[in-house]
């Protein structure tokens, strides 16, 4: 490198640094052309992980940036890992909101983050659109509105499908409880009772997470004469439960699970599904090769992101956010983004049964089934199942 070139390089470096300094202002309002900072807090490492939602959101934002962004302004998407640890989740939110000056949080998927950070978001006047809301806090705060149905409404849906569509009595409910989710699940069960007038045979909320052997619970359910089991497990536990029933030769039980078990991996692992495993899928079933999911599928495959419900949620959250962003007149600041989200018109998307508007609950799932010996999920309905219909 000769002297002049290195001088030029130094000048460019100084200029770049100065510009970066300007852009790093608070509230992400760095004048014309500065990137719009959007954050997300996710559980990417730890006992239960949800990496796909933020990956999918990142893919959507990258595509948006490549297409020119918002009048030339790029979206700078920052994803942090909370490791399923409350302290890290707290720190991550403060880093994104406080020092990075994010205008909103989009596409998060965390085991614990909503409940822990909801108060802080309210205090800072920032809104969060998780791709996948997991804990109770995601569905109870005015500042958080996930793109998905969530386990609680999903529980109501799966019960409703079992009792109303399949006509099953003697549904027993087994719950794996993490943190403070018990009352929220009870509310979901009560909602089902209110709609249908039916009661569960019994509710057992002592089912442990990550147990090695679920046989005793299955035996108890069989002895009590349950015809169907509604359970809310994470995927590995669900496999354990179905296998325990197989080992007991209990082949006429109907399983009413939640979207957490809807994956190719689960279908591969289950040969004997009893009288069928039913799930109200929170998004349009991705195992069904259909025009509806084509854009999502293409984007995921191009970026090597697993095709799961979680990546559907992250994808949708980012899509909704971009649509709202494009409708904002004037400055893009935290205030203007929050205001636009709170006053947004509902966005329709065939991938979900309920149009998305910030603060409204998604209450529709698409019923799917895993039959014995098929190792593949299939649709069992031609339309969305909605709570109370």
């Amino acid at each position: 490198m000769n002297k002049r070139a290195s001088g030029t390089a130094a000048l460019i470096a100084v200029a770049a640094l100065t510009l970066a300094g300007c852009a790093g202002g608070d509230e992400g309002s760095g004048g014309e052309g500065a990137p719009i900072v959007v954050g997300s807090v996710n559980t990417i490492s730890g006992p239960a992980t949800f990496p796909e939602a933020s990956l999918a959101a990142a893919a959507v934002f990258d595509a948006f940036n490549e297409a020119g962004g918002l009048d030339g302004r790029k979206i700078d998407y920052k994803t942090l890992d909370d490791k399923g640890d409350p302290a890290t989740a707290t720190a991550s939110a403060r880093e994104l909101v406080g020092s990075d000056g994010a205008v909103a949080l989009v596409g998060s998927a965390s085991l614990i983050e909503c409940e822990i950070n909801a108060k802080y978001y309210e205090q800072e006047g920032i809104l969060s659109m998780p791709g996948i809301g997991v804990d109770t806090g995601c569905f109870a705060s005015d500042n958080i509105s996930p793109a998905n149905v969530g386990p609680f409404n999903d529980m109501t849906l799966t019960l409703q499908y079992g009792s109303e569509v399949l006509g099953l009595d003697d549904i027993c409910i087994l719950l794996e409880i993490a943190g403070s989710t018990r009352p929220t699940y009870q509310a979901a069960i009560d909602k089902w009772t209110e709609i249908t007038g039916k009661e569960p045979k019994y509710v057992d909320d002592t089912v442990p997470y990550g147990a090695s052997d679920y046989t005793p619970y299955i035996v108890k359910a069989r002895d009590q004469g349950c015809k169907a089991l509604a359970i809310n497990p994470v995927e590995p536990d669900a496999i354990g439960q179905v296998k325990a029933a197989n080992a007991q030769g209990w082949d006429d039980v109907t399983w009413l699970y939640l979207t957490s078990v809807y994956s190719e991996n689960f279908a591969d692992a289950i040969d004997n599904a009893g009288a069928g495993i039913y799930v109200p899928a929170e998004f349009y079933p991705f195992t069904d090769d259909n025009e509806i999911n084509a854009d999502w599928r293409e984007l995921m495959e191009a970026n090597d992101i697993p095709l799961t419900s979680f990546s559907q949620g992250g994808y949708l959250a980012a899509k909704y956010f971009i649509e709202v962003l494009e409708g904002i007149d004037g400055d893009i600041t935290r205030e203007s983004v929050s205001e636009a989200l709170q006053s947004m018109e509902p966005i329709e998307n065939p991938m979900v049964g309920t149009p998305y508007a910030f603060g409204t609950q998604n209450t529709a799932g698409w019923p799917i089934i895993l039959k014995s010996g098929t190792n593949a999920w299939e649709k069992v309905a031609e339309d969305w199942l909605r709570i109370g219909e």
Binding site: D213, Q248, A269
Partner: protein, 286 residues
Amino acid sequence: MLQGAIAGLAAGGLYAVLGVCLTLMSRLVRVVNFAQAATGMFGAFTAVWFVREIGLPIWLGSVLGVLVAGLLAAAIGFIAATWLSEASTTTRSAMTVGPLLLLISMSFILFGNKPQPFTPIIAGPAFAFGGVVISQVTVATVAMAIVTAIVVRIVLRRTRVGTQLRALSERPTTAELLGIRSRPLSIAVWFVTGVISAIAIMIVAPSQSNDATSLSMLIVPAAAAALLGGFRRLDLAVVGGVVLGVLGGLVAQIDEVALVRNFLPFLFIVVLLLWTQRKEVWDAAR
């Protein structure tokens, strides 16, 4: 109730097999191997990988997986025998926590953190009487626990190798002076227990939650089982495992105490320790 108790037997047999391995290790090579279940888990996952990714037949994949588990255990044994041969039991046992965490992380990296799609070697109910179903896995694990304990006992009592092993465990220095080679023998013990754990885990993995963490953490109930025999007696380790499994099955049937089931092994350990220490006076036991 009876059905519940019987349902716990499958888990009980598994705890018993692992408890026997732990007892064996503690007696012969002065170590409580925390990575006992983890090596078995890793071997079983390797077997699944061989079958699914390489396309080997199930029997061959299983044999290779079992070998991998044995070799892993032998590698840990090599470390213990080479660098910690003079160390106390506590130090040697503490060392095995490293491989435990390493194996869990490695399996996350290599095989992902999802449960593995095991093809069941044995599955379904074996027989039923009086409305009580006994699954094939139950028969297999309980039989394996009893057979392992008996075979180990015969080997130790009736064979030349067994005598050498006992000599090494009771008087290591004297045995070495007599010309018994300690390192190969102790590594062989590690290898054998690795193989046994892998076989046991392969039998049960298809019929229960089989992600890396829950399989590796089987070490807790296994340790509780081994504690009943004081990490010395094989027969009591078998009894301990079976009793713990049956208790777990029973407790889950009774609503009032179902919550206890999640920490039953810990309760079991605490009660045993209190019982065994009941005659100790404070000054001497401290």
